[in-house]
Each structure stands twice: as C-alpha cells, then as structure tokens.
Symmetry: C2
Amino acid sequence: MTDKPASPIRPTDDEARALARALIDTARFAALAVLEPGSGLPAVTRVALATDEDGLPVSLISELSAHTRALMADPRCALLLGEPGGRGDPLTHPRLSLSCEADFVARDAPRRAALRSRYLRLRPKARLYADFADFHLVRFRPLRAALNGGFGRAWDMTADDLRPRGGQPGRF
Amino acid sequence: MTDKPASPIRPTDDEARALARALIDTARFAALAVLEPGSGLPAVTRVALATDEDGLPVSLISELSAHTRALMADPRCALLLGEPGGRGDPLTHPRLSLSCEADFVARDAPRRAALRSRYLRLRPKARLYADFADFHLVRFRPLRAALNGGFGRAWDMTADDLRPRGGQPGRF
C-alpha cells in the first residue's frame, strides 16, 4: 500500500486539444453508451464513426439496433474514441470520452445530401446499407470530454476545446 | 430506399455461446459504460479486463477515475468487448455487449489474494499499480448480453449462455 496519489487531471493546453481533435478525426468506430428505454440502464455497443464538415462525430445507424431506438427516446449518450490496437498495454493508448447529445439528421434536412456524400466518401463500405429505410445519419454534439493520454495524463475538456482550428464556434 | 428488413436476432446456439465466451476470455480491455452520479448521464471509458476463475470479467480500477466513483454510487453498468483491430470494416468484427452489475472485491475478502494473483498473472503490467491504495479489483456480473457477429448476425443472450462449459451455475 502506498499513499493515495493526487488527482491526475492536468490543465488543458493546445497539445491536449490537438490530441483530442486527432482522435476524433481518425476514429473509424466508437463505443456508444446510451440509456436503455424503460430501465434507464447503461448499454454500450460499437458504431462506425466519421465526421461532418464542422468536425462533429457522425454515424449511420439502424433502427433495428437497440442503440438507435434508445437515442430516439433519449438523445443523451457518450462516445469512447481511440483504438488501442496492436500489442502492449491498452491503457497506455490515448482515448477520448465524450458526453454528447445525439442529433438525428432528418431525411429532408437541407444539408443531408452533402453529409451523406461526405460520410460515404469517408466510409465507402457504408454504401451497402446507407439507403436502407431503417438507417439514419446522426450527429453527436459534444457537451464535454475527458481525454486520457495514458497513466497520469488526463484532461477535462469543454466542447470548445474540441473544435477544429479555424472552425466556427457556433457549429460545435 | 428499400423495405425495412426483418429483425436480425437469431436463436442462440452453441456456436454463438462459444463465440461470446471466446470474446470474454480473450478481451484485454473493454469499454465500460456507467451512470454519472447526480446527472444520471451515460459515460464510457476504457478499462483493462481479465477473468476470474469462474469466467467472470474482472478489472482493476482506480478511485481517481470517474468510472470507479460512479460504480461505487451505482453498480449498474455495461461492457463492450471484442477488439476490431487491423483493417477492414470494424463492424464486421464480432463484439459482445454485456449488461452487468459491478461487484467490488473487499480488501479482506477470502478469495481476494487468489484473484489478485490470477489478475497479475494474466495482466502482468498491472503490477506497477495493483497495490496502490486507490486501486480496487471489481468483478462484473453479467445480467444479459447482446452478441453481434457482424451484419445480420445478432443474438440476445442470458447470463447462463455466457457460463464457461463445465462452469458452476451458481457462480455466474
């Protein structure tokens, strides 16, 4: 037994912001946590991930999946991004936990066609199912984030910390 | 637009049970979803993972992490296991979503020493921090599970479906 170490949360700097942003920009998938309708229990599943033109995380999800129905009932959710991959201790790989609100993109929304094109350019395998009636594009609006860069390297972040450099403040 | 396809949930068979069990036995880490104290919002983070002698998922987590404090306040949680890794579509890789209750192992619990030894044998890097005062061993007792083996291959499972072959029913 040793004494309890101090809190590992560090002041947010540009290096941490750039790491968080890189995790969002390169994520091919994420763990999505939702609240199960009725019970309110947490549930976590894997979803594909890309970004919209403002740098927000975006997915294409099916109503046949429980997570989609959960988000339709309650948009409060969380995402975990950052692929450990390879060998070594998975806890040394950086990852980003986002607290989000899910925002479904209506079929007739003005920017939907552009978003669909962008998504399919970034995730071409989704062409197989993108136009099935049960699939929906959904944006995830971050409320705040926790970045973990490995043991003892942790930051609490605002949504603004995650905005792309040069991005428009109102969009995030 | 095409018609809505039928539910992809299949009847659970021994092949699905074996796949779920293999995902638990080989998981080096998991996404852990918890309920944030106060707000009740979902939050999701990465934890290391191993198993106990009964095949239950086990982790070693720090009170300095928000997920640990959340589980101390409310043990209802969820785990996502199954590493996509490599290239190709991450959604074609099998993964298991577990609905769980977290069960902290008391420092003076009779089986703690054996569990600690097993954990450190399976996850030797954890020796660096296993005996820090803020770290706790925690078992995750599955209540039910959803197995996704790739598009159109999904199963809903009971805790009993996840029990190791030859395992004791009362332990799971």
